[in-house]
């Protein structure tokens, strides 16, 4: 089965952009014109999924899948996560309630999170648009649930930021870390 890293999160959080920033191939995007309330934010939106690849020295590949953000495509999420080794959850700090978004996507992707033993990182975008923005409330919210995972401030357009997200995810998956409980 393909080894996948799943990018999930609300519309406009930067999933497509993040995959494009890090992928070794041009992203295969299934976009269309936004017709619902999303049109107020952007002209185009992901309809099915985004696809990118990270190529490995031995010829292997790690597949990057971006799940569509709108809830009406949630039937896609279970299909996409089959074979997923970890989750990159992108949150848009400029949305009205990023913590509600966090809870929603943790619930929607609970099976993957549990199967991967909490191999999930959170990337918080658009913090430059919010005066006095802090990631601490998001981090504290997760800690209150007993979840201690990376929560990083990122600009999805910056390859370096997306690289940090993947390093965080890979460290959670590191066999040397997981070897001992």
């Amino acid at each position: 089965m393909q080894k996948k890293i799943i990018f999930a999160g609300p519309v406009g959080a930067g999933k497509t952009t993040a995959i494009a920033s890090i992928s070794d191939i041009p992203v295969v995007a299934t976009e269309g014109a936004a017709t619902d309330e999303v049109a107020l934010r952007k002209a185009r939106t992901t309809l099915a999924m985004d696809y990118g690849v990270l190529r490995l020295p031995d010829g292997g590949q790690v597949h990057l899948y971006g799940a569509p953000g709108q809830d009406r495509f949630d039937f896609m999420w279970e299909i996409l996560t089959a074979g997923g080794i970890g989750l990159v959850l992108m949150l848009d700090h400029a949305r009205p309630d990023p913590i509600a978004d966090l809870d929603h996507y943790f619930e929607m992707f609970a099976a993957l999170i549990e199967r991967s033993e909490h191999a999930v990182v959170v990337g918080v975008t658009r913090m430059d648009l919010c005066p006095r923005a802090r990631i601490d409330p998001i981090r504290k919210h997760l800690l209150a649930k007993g979840i201690n995972v990376p929560v990083y401030e990122v600009d999805a357009r910056e390859r370096e930021d997306v690289r940090q997200l993947l390093l965080g995810l890979l460290s959670l998956l590191d066999p040397a870390v997981r070897r001992f409980r």
Partner: protein, 219 residues
């Protein structure tokens, strides 16, 4: 935020160490832990940092962190901040991480033993803080189970200087606790020599993860 440290032990005497109360780091930690008053720290021509323990906000602009953090208290200008906190301010713990990271230069705080057990309370915002790629792995390990600095190095094959720098930054920022401190003695790690030495064959997933790590970390 900061627990008291033991007096020097024979173990810690052999580890390169530094004084947490020195320089800019000392001024900052005193403001956070004791006076609880906003403070500005300036080294002319090098940089400035200001923090407010009450709001939890900080601002910094430093051209050369190694010079800034090596400066003695005599060389620093310390006083009440002139400017109020504004929207460019960041979380105060991030400034403390930077001060701890650069003051350490690969050393441990005085009084901390390398066999002291450490637990990560929260991940640092590594995308915006000085760090090395292996510090992600240290966070993952210390979050997963309390472990000694010494054992962490063995498990993850990370050199002591990196581990000490990581600990110093995380400790200054309040991101770690030391569960055995109440007893004043380092707790023995529960892993046996047999567990440590038992070889583990690498799965295909492990091979993939190792290659991907090398690709992402640039090594």
């Amino acid at each position: 935020m900061h627990q008291d440290l033991d007096a020097n032990t024979a173990e810690s005497a052999s580890v390169p160490s530094f004084d947490l109360h020195h320089g800019a780091l000392g001024v900052a930690t005193e403001a956070v832990g004791k006076t609880r008053k906003a403070v500005a720290i300036v080294l002319e021509g090098v940089g400035e940092a200001r923090l407010d323990p009450n709001s939890g906000c900080a601002f910094w602009s430093v051209k050369d962190w190694s010079v800034f953090c090596a400066a003695s208290s005599h060389d620093l200008r310390v006083g009440r901040p002139v400017a109020a906190t504004d929207t460019s301010d960041r979380d105060m713990s991030e400034l403390l991480w930077c001060l701890g990271y650069h003051t350490s230069a690969g050393r441990l705080p005085l009084g901390v033993s390398r066999v002291a057990v450490v637990k990560l309370l929260q991940w640092p915002n590594l995308s915006r803080l000085p760090h090395t790629p292996d510090m992600h792995r240290l966070c993952a390990l210390f979050a997963r189970r309390p472990t000694s600095l010494h054992l962490a190095g063995k498990l993850l094959d990370i050199d002591a200087a990196q581990i000490f720098r990581f600990f110093s930054a995380a400790y200054a920022a309040g991101y770690v606790s030391m569960p055995n401190r109440a007893f004043g003695m380092p707790a023995a790690d529960s892993l046996t020599a047999t567990e440590l030495s038992t070889p583990h064959s690498e799965s295909s997933l492990g091979v993939m993860l190792r290659q991907l790590w090398s690709k992402m970390s640039g090594r």
